[in-house]
Structures are given as C-alpha cells and as structure tokens.
Symmetry: C2
Subunit: 240 residues, 2 copies
C-alpha cells in the first residue's frame, strides 16, 4: 500500500521578502519522513486572502493531509484562520472552548485578553483545536487541513500533537554514500542501478568541497533488505 501523502502551505510576506528564512518546512519534512508520510509539495504564499483560499483548496483536494504555518496571531496581518474557513465555506467566530483557554492563560499575567488577542479564539465551525503548550492560542484542524503557528517552537509543539493522530505508512529508510568524483563520472552506472531497483528512490546530490566535485548518493525505500542490497552494489561500483 502506498504511503499517505501530504503537502505544506507556508503563509507569510516575511518569507517571500527574504526577511525571515523559513525553518518549518525542513522540520516538517524530516518528521513526516520518519512517520512514513510522503511530503509531496510545498507552497509559500503571501498574506493575501485569495492566494490563501486558492492554495488551501488545491492542496486539500490533491493530498491526504495539509499542514499550514503562519498567520494565526493577534495582529491585522494574521488572516489565515478566516481564509481557511472561507476555503471550506464555513463560518468562523470566537468559540467558547478556545476563549476559555485564553482566559485561563492570561489570568494572573500582566497581559490582558483584549480584543486583538480574542481574535485568536476565532475557530471555523466544526474544527478541532490543536493544543499550544507554549503560548496557549490554539491551532485547529478542519477537513484534512491542520492550521498551525509560524513561530518554529510553537509549530513544532503543535505538530507533536497532530502527528500521532495521523495514519502513517512504512517509514522511509535511507542510506547515503559519499563519492568523491564528479557526478558525470557516476551517472551512467548509477542510472543502470536505478533501473534494476525500480522500487527504490536513488538520488544524486552534488557538492563542491575544497574545489573538488563530489556527490552524495542517497538510496531510499521502505524495504531495508532492498536498500542494503542496492547500497552494497553501489559501494562495489565506486570503492572509496
């Protein structure tokens, strides 16, 4: 049975302007690989209502699960929640269980639960809350879309809540061989190897180090014996 598929939607002008370097995509990619879920596509869009709606609809329809990051805070540029609701034609309003979480969090602090912060309790109808152990304001899951924060520490905490609820596949195993030759010298035998192991993914990732060319050859698959066999052949083709 093929592994379940996933996509990610990163929302935020700050990524596209170069101000902030996204860190959540790389983290999510590693976690999904460990869980046996294939991350197939990532899109990064602006803080723009129509761009968010279009991307949510396209990715939700094409993949088993979608993760979003960013745009769920209290400020005017946080427009993810209402546009995910709009993508699914759901009303959105402050929900009592979400408000109660914020009330409890801000009670006894020197921060007040003002109108701006209350925006973070707006949840689309029918959504499930995602726990935020760091700053309380919850994410939410609606249809197959999990809406999470952009701040990496909070994104990671929310992902830890969501991942155990998903059905994974066979974890992808991988082995890597570093070959200190130009990719062009490796390409022919490597292509033959890939043809003989059509059930494995064999990738070549070139690098330049100290002025010399090399490549990391990564062999991936869910059957450890097959990965071992292909790696043994590869090592024989290109002895260190």
């Amino acid at each position: 049975m093929p592994n379940p598929t996933a996509a990610m939607l990163v929302i935020g002008d700050e990524i596209l302007s170069g101000r902030t370097r996204d860190a959540n995509m790389h983290f999510l990619a590693g976690e999904l690989t460990k869980a046996g879920i294939d991350l197939r596509e990532v899109r990064v869009v602006r803080d723009d209502p129509d761009a968010i709606v279009a991307a949510v609809r396209a990715l939700s329809a094409a993949y088993d699960t979608v993760f979003t990051s960013g745009g769920i805070g209290p400020t005017h540029d946080d427009i993810t929640a209402e546009n995910v609701a709009r993508a699914f034609g759901r009303p959105i309003a402050v929900r009592e269980d979400a408000r109660a979480i914020l009330v409890a969090h801000y009670a006894g602090r020197d921060q007040e639960l003002n109108e701006a912060r209350l925006r973070m309790a707006r949840i689309p109808e029918g959504a499930l809350l995602i726990d935020n152990p760091i700053s309380a304001a919850p994410g939410f899951s609606i249809e197959n879309v999990h809406v999470m924060a952009g701040v990496p520490a909070i994104f990671q905490a929310m992902l830890a809540s969501v991942l155990p609820t998903l059905t994974g596949g066979a974890p992808l195993l991988s082995q890597t061989l570093e070959i200190r030759r130009g990719e062009g010298d490796i390409a022919g035998p490597l292509s033959d190897l890939a043809e003989r192991y059509p059930d494995l993914s064999i990738g070549s990732y070139p690098f330049i180090r100290d002025g010399c060319y090399g490549a990391h050859i990564v062999i991936r698959g869910s059957d450890g014996g097959r990965v071992d066999a292909a790696m043994t052949e590869l090592s024989g083709l290109f002895p260190a």
Copy 2:
C-alpha cells in the same frame, strides 16, 4: 506602476524528504526585494515529470518571471530540462553552443565529456543559455522561465547573470522596530496605523526570547518618506 512579479519553483525529492535544507529560496527572495521585483509564490515539487510540467505552466502563466532551481545535472534524477521543454511544447536536444562550452571545460581535465555529462548540453529549442562560471554546464531561459542549478554557489552565480536582464521596479525599503511586548498588546494600535498607511505593508513577526514575548514590526514601502513617517508614529506609540 506596480512592481513586476515573480515566482520560484524548487525541484527535488531531497528537499521534500528533509535530507537537504533549501537555501536558494531565501537567497532569491532577498535579491528580488533589492531589485524591486515582488516574489509572490514559491512551490517545491518532487522529481516527477507531471508535477514539474504542471507547476511550470501554472507559475509561468500567473507571474511575470519564474526561477527554477535543481535537477539540471548529469544523473538519471535530473529531469528538469526535458520537462520544462515539455511544459512549453518545445523539442529538446543537445545544442552545439552548449556542447562547445562543455568541450572547452573538460578539455585538459581528468574528467571526460561522456554521455551522461552531454545530457547537460540538452537545451529546449529557442532558449537562451545562462552562464555557469563555476562548473560550465549552462542553465537556460525559455519564455519567462529561468532554469538554474540547485547547488547554491551555482544558483547564485546564474542569478547574477539573469538579474541584470530583468526590468525591476522601485526597490522595497524597509525599517524594523523591535517591541518587547506581546503581539496582543501591540495589535490594536498597529491595525490603526496600517489603516492610515494603506500604501505601506506593515507586518508583525513575533518572537520568544529568554522566555519573554516580543515582536519585530516591519514597515515596507517604496516611498522612503512615507516609511519614515509611519516608523516615527510607531516609535511614538511604543517608546522603548
């Protein structure tokens, strides 16, 4: 006149599996902002022919300029060139000027211009070559799509060749104020400010440092006087 728009397409299983952390998106975003070109969307897709064709067509139709990274080397998993050609219905074959570049590069080295390396001289009909001062194998530009390498040093060198050929807009100016208060305390006055400066983009990017909440407020616009004025008001609202 609004600034020209751009999108990026990152091609490669290694990004989506979490093996490699993409560095080109952040670099491109910064360079385009300096050039006055608005990066509107980024997509990351697998080494999959149909995924590449669909993304190239969608982004090429929606934005003024598209940059791709990855998949133009000599190995079997380098399938970008033929699928960009396919996206535009163009034939692709080894082209003499591209072959000549490779012949000159490999002459006198201990690497041979074998069949695998010759794949890197396959250029879609009607494309312009993009200079690769590092490892010779060229990128190419076809329609409004610039096809470049994934290795960051080569991506950056190719971008340096392409950028001067593009028409930019007014460079985006930005000023940042760090406010050591929770976003929820800032949100109300910030929203008012944003309404009074509709020509500017005002973003709030929260952080957690030493257990305390804060936010960077970034004011962006192409009119330096307006950015100054808004920043002066903002500083008055939230004195350090």
